[in-house]
Symmetry: C2
Subunit: 189 residues, 2 copies
DNA sequence: GGCAGCATGTAACGTGTTACATGATTTC
DNA sequence: GAAATCATGTAACACGTTACATGCTGCC
C-alpha cells in the first residue's frame, strides 16, 4: 500500500477534501503508524489527478486562500480496489504491519469476503514467521566472536530480542484472529 | 541510529570483516527488523573509510576474489559511542523501535550505566505515548463522515486499531522493564 | 508586532532500492 | 550446463524529507 493509495482511500472516504485537510486527517487518525508531509501530498495529488484517478475543483473562499477539493473517480475506485485486493507481502518487518493497518482502514466498505481473505493470508504469513523465530533463525551465537563475560551478555541480549520478536508476532496474530472472529460474529446478528 | 552506525557497530564487534560478510551477519541476526542491500553497504563503507572511522586492508585469496577487510579506528569508536549516547527520539512509530533494538544490540560493551540511562529515557517516552493512545488521541469519530451501518463498522475498526496500539505499547514497555530488571539483578551476582 | 492557522507549491537533498557489470569457483 | 556463493562496485530510479517561497486572516 503506497502513500498514493492511502490518499486515494481517504479521498474516497471524504469526498471534497483538500490536500491540507488530508494531512490533518492523517495526523489525527493514523499519526501513530503513518505520517506524510504536505510537500509529499501535493505532488501525489497532481499525479493522481493526471492519472484520472481523482478530480478536483477550485473553491474560492472568503478570508481564506483558494483551495482544491478532490473527489475520487470510478477509475480511482477501481485502482484502489485492485490495490486492496493485492495479497499481503511476505516480508516480515515492523513496517509491514503498518501496511496491514492502513489497508484494513480502507477496506471496510470492500465487503467481508475481501477482508476475510486478506486476514487469512496475513495470518498464514505471520504464523510462518513466528515458526521461523521460534526455530531460532535469527541466531546470533555464530556471530558473537568474542569470548568471556561479554559473550554471555551479547547472547543474553539476543535471546531477549528473540523473545520480543515472538511476543510481537503473538500479539499480531492474536489481533488478526480477533478481527476475524469479529467478522464471523457479525454474520450471526 | 543510521545505517552507517549500524555498520560501524558490526565492524567493531567483528574486526576484519568484509562488506559481503556484513550483509550475511545482518541477514542472520537482524533480518527481522533491519535489512540493507549490498549496493548500500559498499558506498557506506567508502564513506566511513574516507571519514577515517574505519580502515581496510585488501586480502588476496586463492580461489576467491580479493576482498577488503575492515576494522574500526579509535575515531570510529568515539563516533559510535556518541551516536549510542544520543537520547532516543520522541516520535512514536513502529520504525522507532527498530532503532531501539539496533542500538541495544550495539550497546552491550558500553557499560550498564549507559544502557540503564537509555532504557529509562525510552520508557519515559513509551509511557507518555501509551497515555496519549489511552486518552484517544487517534480518535477517528470526527473523521468518519458517513452515517449508518458503515459508520459503525469504521468506528469499530478504529477502536480495534486503538486496542492494538495499546497492546503494542504495553508489550514494548514490559520488555524494556524486563531488560532493566535484568541489569539490576546482574549487580547482585 | 508576531505567531499560528489556512492553503499551495517548488527545490535541494538524503537514503534507500533494483538493475547492471564483472568474474572466479563450487555444487547439483 | 545452470545455479549458487564469493566479492566489489556503479547507474538509474523511487520515495521521502526539510527548507524555501508566497500570501491572507485571526488572535494575543
Amino acid at each position: 500500500m503506497q502513500s498514493q493509495d492511502v490518499l486515494l482511500g481517504l479521498i474516497k472516504a471524504h469526498p471534497g477534501v483538500s490536500g491540507y485537510q488530508l494531512r490533518r486527517t492523517i495526523q489525527r487518525t493514523t499519526s501513530f503508524f503513518f505520517s506524510i508531509s504536505l510537500s509529499s501530498i501535493y505532488p501525489l495529488l497532481h499525479t493522481l489527478a493526471e492519472a484520472g484517478l481523482v478530480t478536483y475543483e477550485v473553491e474560492e473562499l472568503v478570508g481564506k486562500p483558494d483551495r482544491k477539493v478532490y473527489s475520487i473517480t470510478d477509475s480511482g475506485r477501481e485502482r484502489l480496489e485492485e490495490a486492496l485486493r493485492e495479497p499481503p507481502a511476505d516480508t516480515y518487518s515492523f513496517v509491514a504491519f503498518q501496511d496491514t493497518l492502513l489497508r484494513l482502514g480502507s477496506m471496510t466498505d470492500l465487503g467481508d469476503e475481501a477482508i476475510r481473505t486478506y486476514l487469512e493470508q496475513s495470518l498464514d504469513i505471520y504464523r510462518a514467521h513466528r515458526r521461523r523465530v521460534v526455530d531460532g533463525v535469527a541466531d546470533a551465537s555464530e556471530d558473537v566472536t568474542v569470548s568471556g563475560p561479554m559473550r554471555d551478555r551479547r547472547l543474553a541480549m539476543w535471546a531477549q530480542m528473540n523473545k520480543y520478536l515472538q511476543d510481537d508476532l503473538d500479539l499480531k496474530i492474536r489481533w488478526l484472529e480477533e478481527l476475524m472472529e469479529g467478522l464471523d460474529s457479525d454474520l450471526d446478528t
